[in-house]
């Protein structure tokens, strides 16, 4: 699971009002090469939640994203490359996503998060 996907997922348990971002528990991280596409990154920057990405990337062991970023950061090639790495190349292969409100864990196996709910959570 890329952190771009993590940036879209939210806990959908009944009664939970703010299920975003899911906290990551890491067992295994892998890195996969992806073609660098500055235009795509610039487009994504305006849509994602940067703080959630920043925290997630640190938990995944990547400490190179700056604490703050704004649209002017996108003029820096150095920033774009770090953003690219954090957003697209880091993968949570094994671990969990934890609901920030209830602590319920959604397991991630072979890179696939299981967001299925139990009957009493729907």
């Amino acid at each position: 699971m890329r952190l771009l996907t993590h940036n879209m997922l939210s806990s959908n348990i009944k009664g939970v009002t703010n299920g975003f971002p899911l906290r990551i528990e890491v067992e295994k991280v892998v890195e996969k090469q992806v073609d660098f596409n500055p235009n795509f990154l610039k487009n994504m920057f305006s849509k994602i939640d940067y703080k959630a990405l920043l925290e997630a990337s640190r938990i995944m062991g990547y400490a190179e994203l700056p604490d703050h970023a704004d649209p002017s950061s996108l003029e820096s090639d150095d920033f774009l490359r770090r953003f690219h790495h954090a957003l697209l190349q880091l993968h949570l292969e094994e671990g969990s996503l934890v609901c920030p409100e209830t602590g319920r864990k959604f397991p991630v196996n072979k890179g696939i998060p299981n967001m299925l709910l139990h009957e009493d959570e729907v």
Partner: protein, 209 residues
């Protein structure tokens, strides 16, 4: 990529080994899948460099077609772990990056407006009434540009009405009518193979705040 090439690559994909009727698992044929994504890209520019989600992806055919046509991030969502496993193998086979999430589409909540385009071959609702409209309703909430979907031609008026009235669509257009080959998959299928008429739809969601 040419249409023929796309169809050829999709034709090599593994399909359901033990299809589950309660989920209305039918493979999306390479003929239909290739035309669907080819049209989305070549007529509307909804695939290349976009974020694409494949709802009820099954073995991943539509999502992988999107990846082949240059989508930058493709997510396949399905409730069934076995299908996702096959979809993963299919992605590996084609050396494509595709993300997968196991979830029930109708219980899905998404943060933000990251997904541009949703492509799907939803359950037609013959086993669980309304399953197709559940998919469409969530797809139109999630997509910011367009939703491409297949529905039985016999339900055309209903789909149009429901999409515009209940599902947040600002437009609903049938792009073409296709033949969907249904192989003899399940015990209750009496005939060896039938084909049914399906519509390829393009829905545009209303702009979000």
């Amino acid at each position: 990529m040419k249409l023929k090439q796309l169809e050829g690559l999709l034709g090599s994909l593994e399909q359901f080994s033990n299809p589950k009727i309660e989920l209305e698992q039918y493979p999306t044929g390479s003929h239909i899948a290739s035309r669907m994504l080819y049209t989305a890209e070549n007529s509307f520019g909804d695939v290349k460099n976009k974020v694409v989600a494949d709802f009820g992806c099954g073995c991943g055919t539509l999502g992988l077609a999107a990846a082949l046509l240059g989508a930058d991030h493709v997510i396949g969502l399905d409730i069934d772990a076995q299908s996702l496993e096959i979809a993963c193998e299919n992605a590996d086979e084609l050396e494509l990056d595709m993300e997968f999430v196991q979830c029930d589409i109708k219980n899905l909540t998404w943060k933000g407006q990251i997904i541009d385009t949703v492509v799907m071959n939803p359950p037609f609702g013959t086993r669980r009434k309304g399953a197709d409209m559940d998919f469409l309703s969530v797809a139109l909430k999630v997509a910011s540009e367009a939703v491409y979907s297949l529905h039985k031609t016999t339900t055309r008026d209903h789909v149009r009405r429901a999409a515009l009235r209940d599902c947040n669509a600002s437009s609903a257009e049938v792009l073409c009518e296709l033949r969907y080959d249904v192989p003899q998959l399940y015990k209750f299928h009496k005939k060896k193979e039938v084909d049914i008429a399906v519509d390829l739809w393009r829905f545009v969601p209303k702009k979000k705040q």
